[in-house]
């Protein structure tokens, strides 16, 4: 979905005040009057390899969740220490009403040492009193200052453990964040249709011995962890067959029916996670059970 109108400002080696001023100017000078309605600040930590995918998932997100989106692109190996910025205003028509809403997107390239203390960069740009969501692309650098700082700022951390290697080991680090912020996992969200289906197999599924999952490693581990934690059994074995998406689940050799409907698009999954505000205890238990 494309924006009805879009204005853009670019700056090199900027101060954050420049970004704020540019955004105010974009709003004031816009030829289209638009309401500034926001429901959150949405931060995305996007290392260089993830930029294209991140932009695709974020495309149109401002329309679904009117917000200020701050995309942080760290490049600590750059030969210079500065912030380059792009500020843009995306306007979307409100159906049935002769008004537009505007969403703000601020893309900051954090070069050299400026990538070391991202919280101090983000904090002045947060919208007061609204929830802060942090989308972290790739596997977070567990224990690193940038992660620690941003986690302390956010109300909800959104990861996609499908993007991680050596599962289930990294879950042991994720568990340590549960008491500090609510966590969403896109990989977990993508299992929801299958979880509903497996839940419908109750009570027979209570005696499951082996679950065989054809999908990503994250989905396989999380489904097995979910069954172990919900059924309070640590003896449920997992057999995983690698596939790019969750394609099949077998319970003790019996294929489960394919869930109805189409799998959601990446932007739909992210959008749904941005509507959640509370801790997902069921997910947390499932993650703990993957590494038990």
């Amino acid at each position: 979905m494309s924006a009805a109108g879009l204005e853009r400002w670019l700056g090199e080696d900027v101060a954050l005040a420049d970004v704020g001023n540019a955004m105010a100017r974009l709003r004031a000078e816009s030829p289209v009057e638009g309401m500034r309605t926001s429901v959150m600040t949405h931060i995305a930590w996007v290392p260089e390899p993830w930029i294209d995918k991140a932009r695709a998932a974020l495309s149109g997100m401002g329309e679904r969740h009117p917000s200020r989106t701050i995309v942080l692109i760290p490049d600590s190996d750059a030969g210079t220490n500065r912030i380059d910025a792009t500020a843009s205003l995306e306007r979307y028509a409100i159906p049935g009403v002769e008004q537009n809403i505007s969403s703000e997107v601020i893309e900051l390239r954090l070069l050299g040492t400026r990538a070391k203390a991202p919280a101090s960069i983000v904090e002045p740009l947060l919208i007061s009193d609204l929830p802060v969501f942090l989308r972290w692309r790739g596997e977070p650098p567990w224990g690193a200052p940038e992660l620690e700082q941003l986690v302390d700022l956010t109300d909800r951390l959104i990861v996609d453990s499908t993007e991680w290697d050596d599962l289930p080991f990294p879950y042991s680090h994720l568990v340590e964040l549960f008491e500090r912020t609510a966590v969403s996992d896109i990989a977990w969200a993508r299992t929801s249709r299958w979880r509903m289906l497996l839940a419908s197999l109750w009570p027979g599924i209570a005696h499951v011995r082996t679950i065989r999952v054809r999908g990503t490693a994250a989905q396989a581990h999380l489904l097995a962890g979910w069954l172990r934690s919900r059924l309070e059994r640590d003896d449920i074995a997992l057999e995983h067959v690698e596939a790019e998406r969750l394609e099949a689940v077998e319970v003790d050799g019996e294929p489960a029916a394919f869930p109805p409907g189409d799998p959601p698009l990446p932007s739909d999954v992210l959008s749904d996670e941005l509507d959640r505000f509370t801790r997902d205890r069921i997910y947390e238990d499932a993650v703990r059970a993957t590494i038990a």
Partner: protein
């Protein structure tokens, strides 16, 4: 093990799924079915909110077979649904869609229906659960309800009955109707639809009041100067002269939609959001409601005029309307809610056809600041704070506040802080009928009107209409495309107030 709760369901975003059932729509060839019910069912199917096993039976007098009915409904969905048409969704919805042609005047039709519903039940394992939707004129209610009631003895599963307005013509007929319904159905099986209650913005009144700590402390006579509720339509009677001539604005809008809006605005916080708690509080407001006398009610009828630049005929010139009709197309009233919270706080309400524009709003006008320390001229542009709930169109909430005009000196004027539903929540708003049909399937009567509410509403209407028998106003008394008769303005001017500007 099967008796214990399913631990795998915990945390799943499982919406409550309705039990399998059959929905029987009486009046299946009518406008309501085409424009509202079938598009709503399609929208529920798109979102997978219907029960996994579900059947629809259309009942009408028109001779047709199952295929013709499905074709007709498919066209209705294509024309009126808010979602794009998808063959796979339609096929799923239409799979168990059947039709019975009967006028219910003979036992044959009733038996045919009963047989078909039983067959569908057995084929699809629907558990004997049935929803009967009376999308027919009230004159047909008793025949259908009697027939249904007589065949219900010993039936398994649950039965629910949806009744469309009008619920009677006056208190006596409403009591009669309720008695007739209650002869065969219990109150918790009867779902009286007032589609206004299915609107998101109407429900948002409850969220606004009871989910925000800042409003409720000032939501009373101490801080509120008065309340204005407007239900304005720019359209005329749209070919419904037969109904409108006997109903008029007071029965068409005031008795139901308007009084429900007022009840939600004035009610005390319910202890929880169950059907009984919410309706208990609403009925208390309706019981406390009165109008101080005939002079506090104004009625009007539109003459010729212009709406959106087009000349439109007077009400008496509409097809099917008597040339000397005394039916009111406009009502304005000053009402009071006699309780601790609202004593002496007027609720000014107005509703009508062929008004300047379509608008449904609830405006809470607060008292002026007691002593603004500015020069008199500084605050010339300042009006009292008003909280406006825009029910339709432009669904949302506005708060009018005073703000300093930038520049030298202290000039203050009123500005609006707007919350626009479509701006903050970008998902499409569900149609009222989607919510109400789904609630019926789930057995949740919160957004439906209870018998005692209906009767309290009629009690007030009867008191107003009773006074109208004694005088004969000079109709027409307002031009189409205006905001009603001058006497409606006088109603507020006498109190030193005026209707909100638009």
């Amino acid at each position: 093990m099967s008796e214990s709760p399913n631990p795998l369901e915990e945390g799943l975003s499982l919406r409550r799924t309705p039990d399998p059932c059959v929905l029987v729509i009486f009046g299946a060839s009518g406008d309501l079915t085409h424009k509202k019910l079938m598009p709503a069912l399609y929208a529920l199917m798109v979102r997978r909110l219907l029960p996994p096993r579900f059947a629809i039976v259309g009942v009408a007098r028109t001779e047709a077979d199952d295929d013709a009915f499905r074709k007709d409904m498919k066209e209705a969905v294509r024309q009126h649904a808010r979602d794009d048409f998808r063959d796979d969704v339609w096929e799923e919805l239409a799979a168990n869609m059947r039709y019975v042609a009967t006028d219910f005047a003979d036992d044959g039709g009733e038996d045919k229906l009963e047989q078909l519903v039983s067959e569908l039940d057995a084929e699809n394992n629907l558990g004997g659960n049935r929803v009967y939707y009376l999308a027919v004129p009230p004159v047909a209610f008793s025949t259908i309800v009697d027939a249904l009631g007589k065949r219900r003895s010993g039936a398994k599963g649950w039965t629910r009955l949806i009744v469309e307005k009008p619920f009677g013509h006056d208190l006596a007929s409403a009591r009669e109707l309720n008695a007739m319904l209650e002869e065969h159905f219990t109150e918790d099986q009867i779902f009286r639809i007032d589609h206004y209650l299915g609107k998101e913005t109407v429900q948002n009144m409850l969220a606004l009041r009871f989910a925000n700590g800042i409003f409720e402390p000032i939501w009373n006579r101490q801080f509120v100067d008065h309340v204005q509720i407007t239900v304005a339509e720019s359209i005329g009677i749209e070919g419904r002269a037969g109904y409108y001539e006997s109903a008029g604005a007071i029965r068409d809008i005031f008795q139901n939609h308007l009084l429900q809006l007022l009840a939600l605005t004035a009610m005390e916080p319910p202890i929880d959001f169950t059907a009984e708690s919410v309706r208990n509080e609403k009925v208390k407001v309706l019981r406390a409601l009165h109008t101080p006398g005939p002079k506090s009610v104004v009625r009007g009828q539109y003459g010729r005029g212009y709406v959106e630049g087009v000349e439109v005929p007077a009400y008496r010139e509409e097809e099917g309307v008597a040339p000397d009709s005394m039916t009111e197309t406009y009502v304005a009233a000053k009402l009071f809610v006699d309780n601790w919270r609202w004593a002496d706080t007027p609720f000014y309400v107005r509703m009508g056809k062929r008004l300047a524009r379509r608008e449904t709003t609830i405006a809470i006008q607060f008292k002026r600041a007691p002593h603004p320390p500015f020069e008199e001229t500084s605050a010339e542009g300042l009006r009292p704070n008003v909280l406006i709930v825009h029910v339709q169109p432009d669904e949302g909430v506005s708060l009018a506040i005073g703000a300093k005009v930038p520049g030298q000196g202290m000039q203050i004027r009123t500005v609006h802080m707007d919350f626009l539903y479509g701006g903050a929540f970008r998902t499409a708003m569900p149609e009222a009928y989607e919510r109400l049909i789904l609630d019926t399937l789930l057995g949740d009567g919160t957004l439906f009107t209870r018998a005692d509410e209906v009767q309290e509403q009629w009690l007030l209407v009867d008191a107003i209409v009773g006074a109208w028998q004694r005088d004969r106003p000079g109709f027409p008394n307002y031009a189409a495309g205006t905001w009603g008769p001058p006497s409606a303005d006088d109603l507020l001017h006498r109190d030193g107030r005026s209707w909100r500007r638009h």
